[in-house]
């Protein structure tokens, strides 16, 4: 499953509450699965939360049942290892947005490049959404990325903040390689000048290649 990220606009989807703090990327995808290529039909979906016990229904993609597309969870979600496999597992399992009080920085950067939205709200706001979903599990949350709002039944719409760059990547459904490559000449000129001023910026090539 090597599809590019899907552009993100407005999302209306059921949500799943996984109320745990510090869910690190080792728990999202255990290390032993990271050697797997992502090219299998269901990608990294089968590895999502694989070793976690006592999960609520919908957190892990069960056979037949569609996974929740929005995950509501505790603070510091995605802390720990930089493995992008954690994002692949969520995305491949159909999760399009995670709502939490805070996220690991690297996880958030990885998410934006793979079409997964990280919504940061205050602890009280996340708790209100969790209560709403727990009270009516079938209800759908609505996340509008262009407007930066989240709405749930019985909860006043909430505005969230997101860096313009992440928003841009998500809305376009792109990573930024093509965009940066257009600046290749500017980058090369920058490097040439820096390397002229500080020649140690380039390691001696022959010593880099082979052991002394």
């Amino acid at each position: 499953m090597t599809v590019g990220p899907q552009p993100f606009a407005a999302l209306e989807a059921p949500a799943c509450v996984l109320d745990r703090a510090n869910l690190d990327t080792d728990q999202i995808v255990p290390a032993r699965f990271l050697r797997k290529p992502r090219s299998a039909p269901d990608g990294y979906a089968p590895f999502l939360f694989r070793d976690l016990e006592g999960l609520p229904p919908g957190a892990r993609p069960a056979e037949g049942a569609p996974a929740a597309r929005i995950l509501l969870t505790g603070p510091n979600f995605g802390c720990g290892s930089s493995r992008e496999g954690a994002v692949y597992a969520l995305v491949d399992a159909g999760v399009r947005a995670v709502v939490a009080e805070s996220f690991g920085d690297i996880f958030r950067a990885n998410a934006a490049r793979n079409g997964l939205l990280c919504v940061r709200l205050s602890a009280a706001q996340v708790a209100a959404l969790m209560r709403s979903v727990t009270a009516s599990p079938q209800a759908r949350l609505r996340i509008d990325l262009p407007e930066q709002t989240v709405a749930a039944p019985g909860v006043a719409p909430m505005r969230f903040e997101i860096e313009s760059f992440s928003k841009q990547l998500l809305v376009a459904g792109q990573d930024e390689i093509g965009f940066t490559l257009a600046r290749a000449a500017e980058i090369a000129a920058f490097a040439a000048q820096a390397e002229a001023e500080r020649p140690w910026l380039v390691p001696p090539p022959e010593r880099l290649r082979t052991a002394p």
Binding site: N22, R35, D105, N110, E186, A191, L208
Partner: protein, 472 residues
């Protein structure tokens, strides 16, 4: 020393290094950062696949170094690897090196070892550089006054294709350590105490500069341990101003500048330290006076306490989130509130990882092992093959072997278990690595993080030891 331009506002070390790498800035304030050094390990296959999909070359093959470590077998090196998937990812690293024209340190290379140990060892890492790797503990290289940070596979692909990254500049915060640590208390204890104080997300969104006399007195090995664990409080960056200790360590490394170029470099590096009066977003004070060796009791590095202390009662913790997290951790770790840490029986000991497997760490462990016998299965995997040779030249391997310890090859090993070095379910492992997450060392494994000295003590007594003994 006055700043070069007397009218320029004082700047922090982080700002100085960051600013000289900004190629461009967009309207929203995002910055395109030039990357001086890129390290990659076997996990990079996802990023190379992205490059291959678009048929893109590597922009600057002279600035990337590939090293096999995450899946490196630590026993029977040289023999065929039994697990075909593990063999495959290691082969792929070599194939990508060949296909994209990159330098490779493979399993049979005498320079092989963990990326964050090998980079500094070779002088690939230098002060004032930007260093990235698809591994969150890249913060380690900040010990040299580099802006070093972990990235994900999409960003690795971006670096390969463009040698740059789009980033938002994080806030620089300063952590000032004060106090002279007692004998037997080292960098690992200092940084575990800091994380326990500020929390596992206390550094999120920030670059932490470690400063103060306690930090200045540390060796490079200790400084690397400190920076290595920055990510465990959520900070993507940890850094320390380069000084005499740094320069003496760097000079003479195979890839470091020499002669007149070294002199020029030194002049440049000396000016990197934060200017007096430079403003930090926050100043954090950590006192280590009288600190006992630290061990973790839970499943987050913030869940740490002095070994002389007790497992906390979750009910007494300040916030609901901390109470829930502690209750879950105690259930997972099979510990009771109020239980003393000293004397807690260990089933395994692992001394290794990019946190604590440098020569100094092994010497510290050897001091404890000398003349004693390990009571539980103990594995030592040196941080690099060079560290292994140096330890053997000093006879440390004989001390370990005589104590009944397994002396293995270098790699990530039981830090993450990707090569098959796993802790069995339910077993308690004293580990010198950096993460005690549930399942980190294998499904159901229970990890207690500590210094090499405390881990060695756990090996010879089969339990968490007394601090007096560790100071022996």
């Amino acid at each position: 020393m006055p700043p070069e331009d007397a009218t320029a506002p004082p700047r922090t070390l982080f700002e100085k290094v960051w600013e000289r790498h900004v190629v461009a800035r967009d309207a929203a304030g995002n910055e395109l950062l030039f990357i001086d050094r890129h390290l990659a390990h076997e996990g990079s296959f996802h990023a190379f696949a992205k490059l291959a999909e678009r048929d893109l070359p590597v922009a600057r093959p002279d600035l990337t170094l590939l090293i096999a470590d995450h899946y490196a077998p630590t026993r029977g090196r040289g023999a065929p690897i039994a697990d075909p998937e593990v063999a495959r990812v290691i082969d792929q690293l070599g194939e990508n090196a060949a296909r994209f024209g990159l330098s490779l340190i493979g399993l049979s290379d005498p320079r092989q070892g963990i990326v964050h140990v090998v980079g500094p060892e070779l002088g690939f890492t230098l002060p004032g550089l930007t260093v990235v790797c698809g591994d969150s503990h890249t913060s380690t290289h900040g010990a040299f006054g580099a802006v070093a940070f972990g990235i994900g596979a999409s960003e690795v692909a971006h670096v390969l294709a463009t040698q740059t990254l789009w980033q938002r500049r994080p806030l620089a915060k300063r952590v000032r350590f004060s106090g002279r640590p007692d004998a037997g208390v080292g960098a690992k204890d200092l940084v575990l105490a800091m994380i326990a104080q500020i929390g596992a997300d206390g550094g999120t969104g920030a670059a932490l500069e470690y400063a103060g006399p306690t930090v200045e007195a540390l060796s490079m090995a200790g400084r690397m341990t400190l920076c290595n664990l920055a990510i465990e409080c959520g900070a993507r960056f940890g850094l320390i101003a380069p000084d005499r200790t740094t320069f003496d360590w760097v000079a003479g490394r195979p890839l470091a500048p020499e002669g007149a170029m070294l002199e020029r470099a030194l002049a440049d590096w000396r000016a990197l330290a934060s200017d007096p009066g430079a403003a930090f977003a926050e100043e954090i004070a950590v006192s280590v006076e009288g600190l006992a060796p630290m061990v973790t009791w839970g499943t987050s590095p913030e869940q740490a306490a002095p070994v002389t202390g007790r497992v906390p009662d979750p009910a007494e913790l300040p916030t609901a989130a901390k109470r829930d997290a502690a209750a879950q951790a105690l259930a997972y770790m099979d510990l009771a509130p109020g239980q003393p840490l000293e004397g807690l029986a260990m089933d395994r000991v692992f001394i290794g990882s990019c946190t604590n497997a440098r020569l100094e760490d092994l010497r510290e462990a050897a001091e404890v092992f000398r003349g004693r016998t390990a009571q539980v299965p103990t594995l030592i995997s040196p941080g690099s093959s060079a560290v292994k040779r140096a330890a053997e030249a000093e006879g440390l391997d004989r001390v370990f072997r005589t104590a009944g310890v397994e002396w293995a090859e270098s790699g990530c090993s039981m830090c993450v278990g990707m090569n098959g070095d796993l802790v069995p379910p339910g077993a308690r492992c004293a580990s010198t690595a950096n993460r005690n997450f549930p399942g980190r060392q294998g499904p159901g494994s229970r990890t207690h993080l500590m210094s090499p000295r405390m881990a060695a003590l756990a090996a010879v007594t089969g339990a968490l030891g007394r601090p007096e003994e560790s100071a022996r």
